[in-house]
């Protein structure tokens, strides 16, 4: 097993891929009986400091329907200078440039360690990065001030030739012209009227100047002001201007009567931003960054009316079909998101407000375009400030950790078909021989567009084994999958990253053990969770839970060792042992439970769940809990109420929150001020230790988690209490020893109960 773990880890590090199954069942029927689908988590741009891109273009299979890229799995005839495509078996001539190859003189793409390789495409003009700020001005004064400072700060982080633009909105939408001296100039739009892209371009006077832009002129690194639009200017030219402009930004001047919300035209502002980029820089990497401090209250995309007495929709309203504006607004933003995706741009949403801001309706904008979604209480918090700053963080080469306008293409060998993908992508609707009829996630295509991509973005990609039962794979045969990601690197180069992986086929009948041992329960848990969340987005919660439960039960039935009708005899092998626990926590997670979450929060959580890599996803599913005490070094402990002890400090990381919890005794000590007494310096250190660890997490995490420091009995302790397994509740409190752990006031079932039940069902022959 250890070998498999290593294998998995090694593969992940090299290729950014983790499969649910690392040995594949060789027939369709068998595959479906495995319960967990054959799928993988792919991190297309996984950072590979050891992988320098090659400065030439890939060699393609000449079969028009295949066009797979030459890779280490291909059979090469060095003498004939031929290579055979491992997907379609087409024999291809090497291009003239490869005339010199031989067994000892191989191009990189043929070396096994380059199963993932990156090519730099030299053709085409490098287009500058574009950042379009869309800023809500209906903010409180200090919020706006903080936001303005953040924005000004961000200017210094942008590469000098990046183009920036500014749109502000409140009751009206203003598109600021950045090139002008003296009078600052802006185009104003009514916040209540939806406009077509053409209208917007006409009104911005882009129609004429846009013409010369269209034919992308070859490589002239020097941006010409005449070419770029008046609204998007290279930062080095208008740095001062824009800084001043941002500095002068005023709160929306329209009076807000008592009892009303400010009129906020987010829908139109976004629509204009999309239209502006669509007209000026289609198919060029661009980020629309929406900063909003409240829900859209007018115009297309409005989420709530301006009457304060009517609260914004809650899950309760949605269930009762009481959310008046939701469907229309969602439609509006979906339309925008699709247009944006079609143009290769992405939309970020930075929503900072105490109440909801309509993320539920707007979620598709970042979700479909690969943008970020950040939710905070105020722009004047370090959560926002740090997070925002982190967007512009750079990699070891000094490039932004972001890529634009990516397309991901998946090619499979004949026995496989691709069923779909789940992640921040949209379908490109490319049908092909390797596209499955069955859809899991966004399916029906072999290509997806991912408009904004960073090195941690991870997609779940689902496959279907199509090999018929009676046509088994020859022993030792391997199935291959090639992932081809075209994207615009933040250095403005176009690049292609190619990852080609292969796994062994195995006959289930004879080699179940192999398959079992090659099961990656972590990847499987995340992949199943993605499927569940994807379903939850469109279906009712209980159905999803039931589906998950059934899958779990079936899996246990399939791979558990037990005697029929004897729950006590039930055992799972090591490779499956953690899986039920993941499912237990997943069921309780905010991705599937909406109770106690606002629709916005749910959307926010789900957004991140659908794009983070495996490690982070697992943290989201099952938060990590560390315990600090005088008894020894910090240790991970069970996410269980029994871990909450009076003399411990707990550090919980749920991805979205970092909670430091002081046990009752610790809290009393601290109150008594022991930490300030020299003789209790060790106590001071103990208090400090989790803080330092938390800081470490905070430094790396994007988005920045909410940092909560609480103690026994503190109101914020609820964040911890809601996550731990309620092994002790008010119901069974006295059944357990008094001194161990803290009871949770809940009716939720505990893991023990859940497992007992699961065993019972698994061994039952009823299902």
């Amino acid at each position: 097993m250890a070998t498999y773990l290593e294998f998995i880890q090694q593969n992940e590090e090299r290729d950014g891929v983790r499969f649910s199954w690392n040995v594949w069942p060789s027939s369709r029927l068998e595959a479906t009986r495995m319960v967990v689908p054959l799928a993988c988590l792919l991190t297309p741009l996984k950072e590979r400091p050891d992988l320098p891109p090659v400065q030439y273009e890939p060699v393609l299979c000449s079969r028009p329907t295949c066009k797979a890229i030459l890779n280490p799995l291909c059979q090469v005839d060095y003498r004939a200078k031929l290579w055979a495509c491992n997907f379609c078996f087409q024999r291809n001539q090497f291009p003239p440039a490869y005339a010199g190859i031989s067994e000892v003189n191989q191009p990189a793409e043929l070396m096994p360690q380059f199963s993932t390789i990156e090519y730099v495409v030299q053709r085409g003009a490098p287009s500058p990065l574009i950042f379009l700020y869309v800023v809500d001005t209906c903010l409180e004064e200090d919020d706006l001030q903080a936001l303005k400072e953040s924005l000004q700060m961000s200017l210094s982080l942008l590469p000098p030739d990046a183009l920036v633009g500014l749109i502000t909105f409140g009751r009206m939408v203003q598109v600021h012209e950045l090139s002008c001296e003296g009078i600052s100039k802006s185009y104003v739009f009514r916040g209540t009227k939806d406009l077509t892209a053409k209208q917007i371009q006409d009104m911005l006077g882009l129609t004429k100047p846009a013409m010369p832009v269209q034919p992308v002129r070859p490589a002239q690194p020097q941006e010409r002001p005449s070419v770029s639009s008046r609204f998007l200017q290279p930062i080095h030219k208008i740095d001062m201007n824009l800084t001043d402009l941002l500095g002068e930004l005023q709160r929306d001047p329209w009076p807000v009567p008592q009892g009303k919300r400010p009129l906020r035209s987010t829908g139109v502002a976004l629509s204009i931003a999309v239209g502006l980029l669509e007209g000026t820089f289609p198919n060029t990497g661009a980020r629309i960054m929406l900063f909003t401090g409240g829900p859209p209250t007018q115009g297309p995309g409005m989420v709530v009316g301006d009457e304060l007495k009517v609260p914004i929709r809650s899950w309760h309203d949605i269930e009762k079909d009481n959310a008046r504006f939701m469907k229309k607004a969602t439609k509006h933003y979906e339309m925008l998101a699709n247009r944006t995706a079609a143009n290769g741009h992405c939309i970020d949403i930075y929503a900072c407000a105490l109440d909801q801001t309509g993320l539920l309706e707007m979620k598709c904008c970042p979700n479909l375009t690969g943008g970020y979604m950040v939710m905070g209480d105020s722009f004047n918090t370090s959560l926002f400030k740090q997070t925002f700053q982190r967007i512009f963080s750079k990699d070891f080469n000094g490039n932004f950790r972001m890529a634009f306008g990516a397309t991901l293409e998946v090619k499979t060998s004949r026995e496989l078909k691709v069923a779909g993908a789940i992640g921040p992508c949209v379908s490109l609707n490319v049908k092909g021989p390797c596209v499955s009829e069955n859809e899991l996630g966004v399916g029906g295509t072999s290509q997806w567009k991912i408009c904004g991509l960073d090195p941690t973005n991870t997609l779940g990609i689902y496959f279907e084994v199509v090999n018929q039962h009676n046509a088994p794979i020859p022993q030792g045969g391997r199935g291959a999958i090639q992932f081809v990601t075209h994207y615009q690197h933040s250095s403005t180069q176009r690049r292609i990253r190619v990852t080609t992986v292969a796994r062994n086929w195995a006959d289930v009948q004879s080699q179940l053990k192999h398959i079992e041992a090659a099961f990656d329960q972590e990847a499987a848990a995340v992949l199943m969770a993605r499927l569940g969340v994807f379903r939850a987005e469109s279906e009712e919660g209980p159905d999803v839970l039931r589906w998950l439960d059934r899958q779990l039960i079936r899996l246990c039935q399939k791979f558990g060792q037990y005697n029929k009708e004897d729950p006590v005899s039930f055992r799972l092998s090591d490779s499956f042992s953690l899986y039920p626990q993941f499912m237990f926590h997943l069921r309780r997670s905010p991705f599937l439970q909406v109770f106690n979450n606002s629709p916005d929060e749910s959307s926010y959580y789900r957004h991140h769940f659908a794009r983070q890599d495996l490690t982070q996803s697992l943290i989201m599913i099952q938060p990590i809990l560390y315990s600090y005490s005088f008894h020894g070094p910090p240790e991970p402990v069970l996410l269980d109420s029994s871990s909450i002890l009076a003399d411990r400090i707990l550090l919980m990381d749920t991805f979205f929150q970092i909670v430091i919890y002081l046990g009752e005794t610790i809290a009393q000590w601290r109150k008594a001020g022991y930490q300030d007494m020299p003789e209790y310096e060790n106590f001071k250190h103990l208090l400090q230790a989790p803080l330092d660890d938390a800081q470490e997490i905070l430094q790396a995490r994007f988005p920045m988690p909410r940092y909560i420091h609480t103690e026994h009995g503190g109101s914020q302790a609820r964040f911890l209490l809601s996550k731990v397994n309620p092994s002790q509740t008010h119901n069974n409190l006295y059944a357990w020893g008094q001194e161990t752990g803290a009871p949770i006031l809940t009716d939720d079932v505990s893991l023990q109960v859940f497992m007992d039940h699961l065993k019972k069902l698994a061994v039952s022959s009823a299902c």
């Binding site: 009206m172 203003q174 012209e177 003296g182 009078i183 600052s184 100039k185 802006s186 185009y187 104003v188 739009f189 009514r190 009227k193 406009l195 209208q199 006409d202 009104m203 911005l204 006077g205 002068e248 001047p253 329209w254 009076p255």
Partner: protein, 1094 residues
């Protein structure tokens, strides 16, 4: 009779009295026209033997004049010069004769005499028919000495008018003989007889009123003459007359001139024949013409001579109406000035006719509104609608509620009744006024409008004195004055909220044309200083008015000029299809607070758009934006729009170029005056609701569709200014002057005007720049001191003589400081059961104001011809009614005009000839629409001078004399080529320089050494340090000061191309576009009247 009426006022004239009597009767009565003519003179002279004496001079003049005419072709100057040569007197003659003439007219139908002749002769009418005969005429003319010269003229003359007159006189003599053979003979005899006969008698008459009779004389003959004759006659007369005016037989004319010189003796007759037209019209000529005529006796001989000369046997000298004998506006104005200018006009008495608008007088308010606020067509209203219908005299009041007063007169007192607000009648809601009757010891008052008895509120109670008057009557403006103001309470305010001070928004076209012409730069520069002069109330330190700025081409640019900003911010709104205001705070600002930002903005606007290549503009969205801005700011206000071109950009209110001159004189002509789409009306309605007044400054290089663009200004009480082909160098002063005035003038906003009347009459129709959503309330988004509303009344019941008729005009408005006020004007009129009383208390100027507005509105819905005919018919009916019911019996051939209306024909003719009703070839559709809407809100003084321009000789009176020179009649004949004249009509200002002006004068006025060096079309006189230059420039300045719009000066040289333009304003002459000359029109009118009477 006119006499009577006129008599009283007229006395000054002198002879008049005797004359009058005489003349009414006699004149019309049956004097053969020809004879009549003479007689009149006789009459005048009558008084004077001098007359006879004059003859000699007359003769001499005659020739001169005649000479002139011949030279004719219009060159007045030549003629005059000629005159000059002839009779030293010429000039003097002119004047002198003129004076005499005028008197005559004044007293009598002046004209009557001449008219009569003309009129009398159906011939006149025929002429119309005949016009075609022009050919004949020409032929005849050819026959005539004038021949060649004349020829061209006739065609132009076209109209019958011309000929007839001439015919009358000449008729018998030549042409007929030749052409008409038969007719002539037959007629001739009669004529001849007629003449003699007529003449003779008249002469005898002279002492009495004789003078006019002559005119009549014509009548008799004419009949016989009938059609044919006329034409025939025309030979002599018509052709001449026409030619003279119209065309330019000039060259030939010159020769005549030469003759002239010689003429004294014999030639005169010749000329006379030819000149008829001329003579009549020309001052100089007159003398002479008359000479012969008047002398009938002698003339006859003359005639004979003519006859002889022409060859034709029958030598009836062509007789024509003597222009000097027909009513002269100049004389009327002068007389009124002399008679009534010195005493203040005290308004205490009911039904007093105020002095003419041309007279300077002071007003003392003693209970009735000053005529500066209200003028009526008649101050004595018929008691019954039957009477009113019979008379056809429109009952109308021209109201200028916020009229500016001369500094000597106090503006209306403001009365504050505190919380309770102004006291009103419970039933009809009329406001407390001096006519309310307090009863029951002062505890109640009876409404003077509806007779309702109301309680007097306790706090308003006051005891009555023995006359039944309240003891405090003289302490309370509302009980003792005709005009006063109430402070309005919150009930009178929109939404029951006291208004916010209004705002001005400057909306500047920055398209290519505007920038290139220099307009944008000029305007921005000017605004910087102009903003210090926004209207303020009373002694306020600074104006309460806030300002905002917008520029636009096919998109709009709003500016944030908030005082806290370092730089203005521009906000572009390109969604013109759905206009909105992009900002609230910082758009409308106090000038002083935001001065630095505003200055910076105005500095930058010209720079920002210096390189614009945008030529398309929008229009409706601009207004919409301004209106929305005011709406957002919840205030009333005014938009100043500076616009250059037809709005063709894609937007609401987009217009097409639909200028089609082919439509003129068709039934579709009215479409040229109608707006292209209803969108602008809708927009205007919204503006009115918001109290958004729009002033439009147009700078078109081509057709901009003024008819459509002016809809909103028109309906919101705004003004339109138009500067065609604007160039900074030439038009800067005019534009800036207008702009300054427009920005600075005191304005009332968001106004509602209601006119209440006593039971019996009712305001039924309103004319002016405003909007009405119901039938009684005149809604004005803005109202300034120049805007006038004309209100027509109709009977709905009987009035009685004892109570008279009362008018109360109440205007509720927001002052420029944001105060809500009510201005009340009261006027009491008399009522009559006798038509004569009506005619005796009419005011022709006001009548013309009404009729012009009525007609100008009519062109929107009817063909222009119909409108013209309606006017003529109405005028004829008015005069016929008078003739029938008020004039003493006299011959039908006599034209008798009521004294108060004796100028009605000449003025009406001017209206008919105006470019709206009879466009010349050079008048653009836009010009017509512009003038049409302009006239709509003119007051009486403006219409007066607009339709009958003032022509001021500059070099006749001694240089030292600094008073305004007496005007002369607007006819080419009155121009002498040795003089310089100023002509103004409130919009245009010409300086006409005669070709023979002394070199010294040229030098001192223009700074060049000779006539030929004067730049034609010059618009500024050089500043030279000499008396004449100072005087002329001073005069020009004072004229400009009198008018609400800056008049750009155009120097016109005699015989220069520009002279055509100038001649258009010589309204007594036949116009190039076919308008009748005064004389001809008078004849036509006479004919119409006669037809009505028969």
């Amino acid at each position: 009779m006119n006499v009577n009426q006129s008599a009283p006022p007229v006395p000054p004239f002198g002879q008049p009295q005797p004359v009058y009597p005489g003349y009414h009767q006699s004149s019309y009565g049956g004097q053969p026209a020809s004879t009549a003519a003479p007689t009149p003179y006789g009459a005048y002279n009558g008084p004077v033997p001098g007359y006879q004496q004059t003859p000699p001079p007359g003769v001499s003049r005659a020739p001169a004049s005649s000479g002139a005419p011949p030279t004719s072709t219009a060159q007045g100057p030549c003629g005059q010069t000629a005159y000059g040569q002839f009779g030293q007197g010429d000039v003097q003659n002119g004047p002198s004769s003129g004076v005499q003439m005028q008197r005559l007219p004044g007293s009598q139908p002046f004209a009557s005499a001449p008219l009569a002749p003309v009129v009398s002769q159906p011939a006149v009418l025929q002429p119309y028919g005949p016009p075609p005969t022009s050919a004949q005429v020409t032929a005849q003319l050819a026959g005539m000495q004038i021949s060649g010269a004349v020829a061209p003229a006739p065609p132009t003359s076209g109209l019958g008018y011309g000929p007839p007159t001439s015919l009358a006189s000449a008729s018998g003599s030549f042409p007929n003989s030749g052409l008409y053979g038969s007719y002539p003979q037959g007629q001739a005899p009669p004529l001849g007889q007629g003449h003699p006969g007529a003449q003779l008698p008249p002469r005898s008459v002279p002492p009495q009123a004789s003078s006019f009779t002559p005119s009549v004389s014509g009548g008799p003959r004419m009949p016989s003459m009938t059609g044919p004759l006329l034409p025939g006659q025309s030979f002599g007369g018509p052709p001449v007359s026409q030619p003279n005016h119209v065309s330019s037989p000039p060259p030939q004319a010159l020769p005549p001139g030469t003759q002239m010189t010689g003429p004294p003796g014999p030639p005169p007759p010749m000329h006379s024949a030819q000149q008829p037209g001329y003579q009549l019209q020309q001052n100089g000529s007159f003398g002479p013409a008359r000479g012969p005529q008047s002398n009938y006796g002698s003339p006859y001989p003359g005639a004979a001579t003519f006859g002889s000369q022409p060859g034709p046997p029958q030598p009836l000298p062509p007789k024509r109406l003597d222009p000097d004998a027909i009513p002269s506006p100049i004389q009327v104005i002068e007389d009124d000035r002399n008679n009534r200018g010195s005493e203040p006009f005290v308004t205490g008495l009911r039904g007093q006719v105020p002095p003419l608008v041309t007279t300077n007088f002071l007003v003392k308010d003693q209970g009735n509104a000053s005529p500066r606020y209200i003028r009526c067509t008649s101050y004595n209203i018929p008691c019954t609608s039957d009477m009113a219908k019979q008379a056809q005299v429109p009952l109308a009041a021209v109201i200028k509620p916020l009229a500016r007063l001369p500094p000597e007169e106090a503006s209306p007192y403001v009365v504050d009744h505190g919380e309770s607000g102004p006291l009103r009648c419970n039933r009809c809601k009329a406001y407390m006024c001096p006519f309310m009757q307090f009863v029951e010891g002062g505890r109640r008052f009876q409404c003077c409008f509806c007779s309702c008895i109301n309680d007097v509120p306790p706090q308003y109670f006051q005891h009555l004195d023995h006359t039944g008057k309240r003891v405090d009557a003289y302490d309370r403006p509302e009980l003792s004055l005709g005009s006063y103001e109430f402070l309005a309470t919150v009930d009178y305010c929109k939404n029951n909220k006291f208004p916010v001070p209004p705002a001005f928004i400057f909306m500047i076209d920055v398209s290519y044309n505007a920038v290139r012409s220099g307009l944008v730069r000029l305007l921005c520069e000017e605004l910087k200083s102009l903003l210090d002069f926004l209207p303020r109330e009373g002694g306020a330190e600074e104006s309460a008015i806030r300002v905002g700025f917008v520029t636009y081409n096919k998109v709009l640019h709003f500016y944030n000029v908030k005082s806290s900003l370092a730089q203005p911010q521009m906000m572009v709104v390109s969604d013109v299809g759905d206009m909105f205001v992009p900002l609230l705070d910082g758009f409308l600002v106090n000038v002083n607070e935001s001065r630095a930002v505003i200055t910076s903005l105005l500095d930058q606007i010209p720079e920002m758009f210096a390189d614009t290549r945008e030529t398309e503009t929008v229009f409706a969205p601009v207004i919409q934006a301004g209106m929305e801005a005011l709406k957002a700011a919840e205030c009333a206000g005014k938009l100043f729009l500076f616009h250059t071109s037809l709005p063709i950009a894609e937007a609401p209110g987009k217009l097409k170029n639909r200028d089609d001159r082919k439509l003129i004189n068709t039934d579709k002509e009215k479409t040229l005056f109608q707006p292209q789409s209803g969108a602008y009306q809708t927009l205007a309605k919204e503006c009115v609701a918001q109290g958004c007044c729009v002033d439009l400054f147009l700078f078109p290089n081509q057709y901009v569709d003024v008819a459509t663009l002016s809809v909103v200004p028109q309906l919101t009480g705004g003004s339109v200014y138009k500067y065609a082909c604007f160039q900074v160098e030439n038009d800067q002063e005019r534009f800036l002057s207008d702009l300054r005035r427009d920005v600075q003038k005191v304005v009332g906003f968001d106004a509602v005007m209601r006119v209440r009347t006593s039971t019996g009459i009712r305001a039924v129709d309103f004319f002016g720049a405003f909007y009405m959503s119901n039938t009684t309330d005149v809604e004005l988004a803005g109202l300034d001191g120049d805007k006038t509303v004309t209100v027509e009344f109709k009977h709905d019941d009987r009035l009685n003589e004892e109570n008279g008729a009362l008018l109360q005009c109440a205007l509720l408005y927001t002052s420029c400081a944001g105060q809500r006020r009510l201005r009340i004007h009261n006027l009491a009129l008399n009522c009559c059961t006798q038509l004569a009383d009506l005619y005796r208390n009419c005011e022709t100027d006001t009548l013309i104001n009404y009729m012009a507005k009525f007609a100008y509105r009519g062109v929107l819905s009817s063909p222009v011809k119909t409108v013209r005919d309606t006017l003529i018919t109405q005028c004829a009916q008015i005069l016929a009614c008078y003739r029938k019911n008020c004039a003493s019996p006299s011959s039908a051939g006599q034209l008798i005009l009521p004294e108060c209306m004796k100028l009605l024909p000449v003025y009406l003719n001017c209206v008919l000839k105006s470019e709206v009703l009879q466009p010349g070839a050079e008048v653009t559709t836009d010009d017509r629409a512009y003038v049409r809407q302009l006239v709509t809100s003119m007051d009486v003084a403006e219409t007066n001078v607009f339709f009958y321009p003032r022509l001021l000789p500059l070099t006749k009176s001694p240089i030292e004399n600094t008073t305004e020179p007496p005007a002369v009649r607007a006819s080419e004949e009155r121009l002498s080529n040795g003089d310089i004249y100023l002509l103004e009509n409130g919009l245009n200002l010409f300086l006409w320089v005669g070709a023979s002006v002394q070199q010294g004068v040229v030098q001192s006025l223009f700074g060049v050494s000779s006539f030929s060096q004067i730049t034609s079309g010059l618009s500024v006189l050089p500043v030279l340090d000499n008396l004449l230059s100072k005087k002329v420039r001073g005069l020009i300045d004072s004229l400009r000061a009198q008018r609400s719009r800056y008049m750009k000066l155009i120097v016109v040289k005699q015989e220069d191309k520009l002279e055509m333009l100038f001649k258009h304003f010589l309204v007594e002459d036949k116009s190039l576009s076919g308008g009748a000359s005064y004389v001809d029109f008078l004849c036509h009118m006479h004919k119409e009247i006669r037809q009505l009477l028969s």
